[in-house]
Amino acid sequence: MKQRVPISLTVNGEIHELFIPPWQLLLDTLRDELGLTGAKRCCIEGQCGACTVLIDGKPINSCLYLTIEAQNQEIVTAEGLVEDGKPHPIQKAFVERGAVQCGFCTPGLVVATKALLDQNPNPTEDEIRIALSGHLCRCGAYVQITEAVMAAARETAQKEVGV
């Protein structure tokens, strides 16, 4: 039961050569092997969204994803959105709009928002609510989270037209 397999994993643009048990969850690999603890260990059944990361741009629950399945794919975590030491506009919007309280759900929400805005740069409020309906925030900052996503969408749109 202790056998391990060699795999190659691309996370936040870096390639990692790892030797892991084949049943290891992507969440555990990210956290325990790579020290990327932004994805949180919470319900481990895909209900809370706190472990969300992007695989080829799509948000997935890393607690329901085997690491070996994520080979040859681009994995992005909340840590990976930071560029040149600067938080991503989405992360900035979450902070500035009061969408961060205890912060346990935040990294998952931030990457889910990235996936949403990449696919739909100008979402309606309903589209935001549906996109984030798999994320629990027990601090109850849903209104502020919605406002943060709207603000991030505006900021991203402005950047694209060069304002």
Binding site: R31, K40, T77, V100, C102, G103, V110, C137, G140
Partner: protein, 771 residues
């Protein structure tokens, strides 16, 4: 007065402005380290073995097979601890780190294992053999109170874990003199705190005897005391270091838990750091939940709606341990005393031991339950007497300066201002009774303490050290649990010292370093710790003022500290840079700038069994209106609008106040409509977020339909006039929803949650009652 007017009048440079949370950046980037994010070289992983039976004697535990499993480094049972009870109130203390000779609920901790990896630790649990002798169990409080019921503890006849009784005025006479008396029974459910971060800790017992616990603790000093008690060691040997906390809501992070004790004792046994992390299943099965209650409320009123007398009898399911239940069972009396003038009040409340997971505090400790009963009943009385429910509340509302029958002294109490704001903003007059069927509007009022002064340790303390670059190191004992303590307390220090919020660092709590303080609970941090911080900052400023006065040849009274400068009020050019003043003071004159402050609100004790006295230095008032749409086919309730006004005294950080207000609202909304910890014969049937349903983003109204109002009353006891904001805004929400659902459908639900099936059966009943 508006927020802007107060800022202008007082010349505030920091407070009163919406300020993003200080730790927001590192939380949004995933950098913040929560307890489960800690890793130590050589660290072992621990797991707890739990009782599968609701009530049983432990005859024998055989750990030998588990110990022999490769990878297992240590196994502990109750024998590894000195057998000393720990907990809060001395007269009800009944926790042990691990069950000794008896288990009292399914999930109670019996043994623990440390292994090189989690899988091995889990495997080892299966190899521990516990021989139990099952005992008769009791699950409902009413049954447990019967003389023939199984007894959980010898010290508690009829399983009464704790009780609180008080009587002020003459209720019997008051009821006799009333024109109308109404009695209803309300039932509230068991509800979990539901914080997303499971409990986690790392324990280290060094050869020197030094014991360190890293954990997500909202009250690290309480944990520090509990560890010393349960381990039987000197508190000085123990160090509790706080990590970032992924939500608390008093879900166990406020006290010492079995995992904490096992982590350090297994570290002693193995010589390695030991980490424990609960699974979400464990979090939902173990104790720490809101008390389910049966509340019988009898109210007498005059024909015009004047409240004359209220008599309340509460039976609460306490579960298998006392926890903080003695306080829990007193606090509903607080709700009875607020927010209306009722001259005669009486309460008998009983917290009953049963063989279920134990109950304790949860955001706004027992207040939403009592508000649900009172505010639902007021609505029913108003209907019976054909009175306007808004006017009935207005007629009876308390105001600043009132003293309640049990001795609460209300400094400020902006209830009526709040009522006016939400009635006007919600369009109540145009909507109440005039909306189409299926659509309804409801309201409720409430009052809340700003920190209870009922515990043996209530006082807060703070320390400030100013560094030579002019930045400020702020230390308190009140952990940031997401509520924004780090930011609001830093804002207070920055305001006094004339620096920026970013110049202040807020330390994690470390019992070896940070000053004594009971922690984050009871809506106490902004007022109590805030006052201590203000005093500490003023102390530090005074030390700098003396030097600045000499250097600037000015009277210290004329100095202004603002925007990182110190200058003379009538001659702003005559000034100096804050950082160079600090350097002159410390590096040249040799006076390190270190301020300290503390706050308490008097030491006259109040008996938690129901005594007379002022429970808190300040009281907030809230009035909430909600509009709902009820689908009469499915019973589904859609929340269409929220109008919530709260008297927080003064919103030091309006952004955090709004966050707290909506947080409290959302949690109460969960209790009102969805959440319910279902137990059959003591077994939790829904220990998963799949089946334990908490509010989601789609359950809230759209942004434009959420309206929050800060009522500014500038309480004289608050730092810069501030009172609590984190719990009161949620207190009336359940009742407001119940009233709105009644308004929409004519169905009055008196038990929680107000599920679609209850609404549908109510509709069915009203249809069949019609000819």
């Amino acid at each position: 007065m508006t927020l802007e007017e107060v800022i202008e009048r007082e010349g505030y440079s920091v407070i009163g402005r919406p300020t993003p949370k200080k730790d927001g950046w590192i939380k949004a980037t995933g950098e913040a380290k929560f307890a489960d994010d800690l890793y130590f070289p050589g660290m072992l992983h621990g797991k707890l073995l739990r009782s599968p039976l609701p009530h049983a004697r432990i005859l024998h535990i055989d750990t030998s097979r588990a110990e022999k499993l490769p990878g297992v480094r240590g196994v502990v049972t109750a024998k590894d601890f000195p057998g000393i009870l720990y907990g809060d109130f001395a007269h009800t203390r009944d926790y042990l780190p691990l069950a000794q000779d008896r288990v009292r609920y399914i999930g109670e901790e019996v043994a623990a294992v440390a292994a090189t990896d989690m899988d091995t630790a889990e495997e080892a649990l299966d190899l521990i053999c516990v021989e139990y002798e099952p005992l008769p169990a009791v699950f409902s409080p009413e049954e447990a109170m019967q003389p023939e019921a199984p007894q959980l503890y010898d010290r508690a006849p009829n399983n009464i874990a704790s009780k609180s009784e008080f009587h002020y005025g003459d209720v019997e006479k008051g009821l006799a003199e009333s024109d109308y008396v109404r009695e209803d029974t309300f039932e509230t459910q068991s509800m979990k705190q539901g914080m997303l971060e499971p409990h986690a800790c790392v324990g280290l017992w060094e050869g020197s005897g030094k014991i360190t616990l890293w954990s997500c603790k909202s009250s690290p000093y309480v944990v520090w005391r509990h560890l010393a008690m349960g381990l039987g060691v000197d508190p000085g040997n123990i160090r509790v270091i706080q990590t970032y906390i992924g939500g608390s809501f008093s879900g166990g992070k406020q006290e010492g838990m079995p995992m904490d004790f096992c982590a350090v004792i297994l570290s002693k046994k193995t010589g390695r750091p030991v980490k424990f992390v609960h699974t979400m299943d464990e979090v939902l099965v173990i104790g720490h939940m809101r008390h389910s209650m049966k509340i019988r409320l009898k109210t007498g009123v005059k024909r015009d709606g004047t409240l004359v007398a209220q008599h309340c009898r509460i039976i609460a399911n306490g579960g298998a341990h006392a926890s903080i239940g003695q306080l829990s069972i007193f606090l509903p009396g607080l709700g009875l005393n607020l927010p209306y003038r009722v001259p005669n009040v009486q309460m008998e409340s009983y917290r009953i031991y049963t063989n279920t997971g134990f109950a304790g505090a949860l955001r706004s400790h027992t207040q939403p339950q009592i508000c649900f009963a009172r505010e639902s009943q007021i609505e029913m009385i108003a209907k019976e007497l054909d009175l306007d429910p808004v006017e009935m509340r207005r007629k009876n509302a308390r105001a600043g300066g009132d003293v309640t029958p049990s001795g609460f002294k209300l400094g400020t109490f902006g209830f009526l201002d709040g009522l006016d704001r939400v009635i006007e903003a919600s369009g109540w007059r145009e909507k109440y009774g005039k909306l189409p069927r299926g659509r309804g509007i409801g309201m409720a009022g409430s009052g809340m303490i700003s920190g209870a002064r009922l515990m043996s340790h209530s006082a807060s303390s703070a320390q400030i050290k100013i560094r030579e670059d002019g930045t400020v190191a702020l230390m308190t004992g009140s952990a940031d649990i997401g509520q924004g303590a780090d930011t609001v307390l830093s804002m207070i220090a920055a305001e006094v010292l004339g620096v920026r919020v970013d110049d202040v660092t807020y330390a994690m709590i470390d019992s070896d370093v940070t000053p004594l303080d009971p922690g984050a609970f009871s809506s106490r941090v902004t007022l109590w710790t805030g006052n201590a911080v203000k005093q500490a900052a003023e102390d530090a400023r005074k030390q700098l003022e003396e030097v600045a006065a000499q250097k600037l040849k000015a009277d210290p009274k004329h100095l202004v500290f603002r925007d990182r400068r110190v200058y003379v009020r009538h001659d702003p050019q005559r000034g100096m840079d804050f950082a160079s003043l600090v350097r002159s003071t410390q590096n040249r004159l040799g006076h390190p700038v270190m301020g300290q402050g503390s706050y308490t609100s008097g030491d006259e004790p109040i008996a938690v069994q129901g005594g007379y006295g002022n429970a808190s230095p300040a009281y907030s008032a809230s009035v909430v209106v909600v509009e709902v749409e009820v689908d009469e086919e499915t019973g589904h309730v859609t929340l269409a609008g929220i109008w919530n006004a709260s008297d927080c005294g003064f919103p030091l950080n309006p952004m955090a106040v709004a966050g707290q207000s909506m947080g409290a609202f959302t949690m109460s909304m969960g209790q009102a409509l969805y959440e319910n910890l279902i137990r059959i014969e003591g077994q939790v049937m829904n220990p998963s977020f799949r089946d334990y349903k908490m509010p989601l983003i789609v359950d809230l109204p759209k942004v434009e339909n959420v309206h929050l109002f800060d009522i500014i009353t500038n309480d004289p006891n608050g730092p810069f006039g501030a009172k609590e904001a984190g719990q009161g805004p949620g207190d009336g929400v359940i009742a407001a929803l119940a009233n709105a659902i009644y308004n929409a459908t004519g169905v009055r639900v008196k038990s929680l949650p107000i599920s679609p099936s209850k609404i549908l059966s109510g509709l069915e009943e009203s249809r069949s009652n019609k000819p």
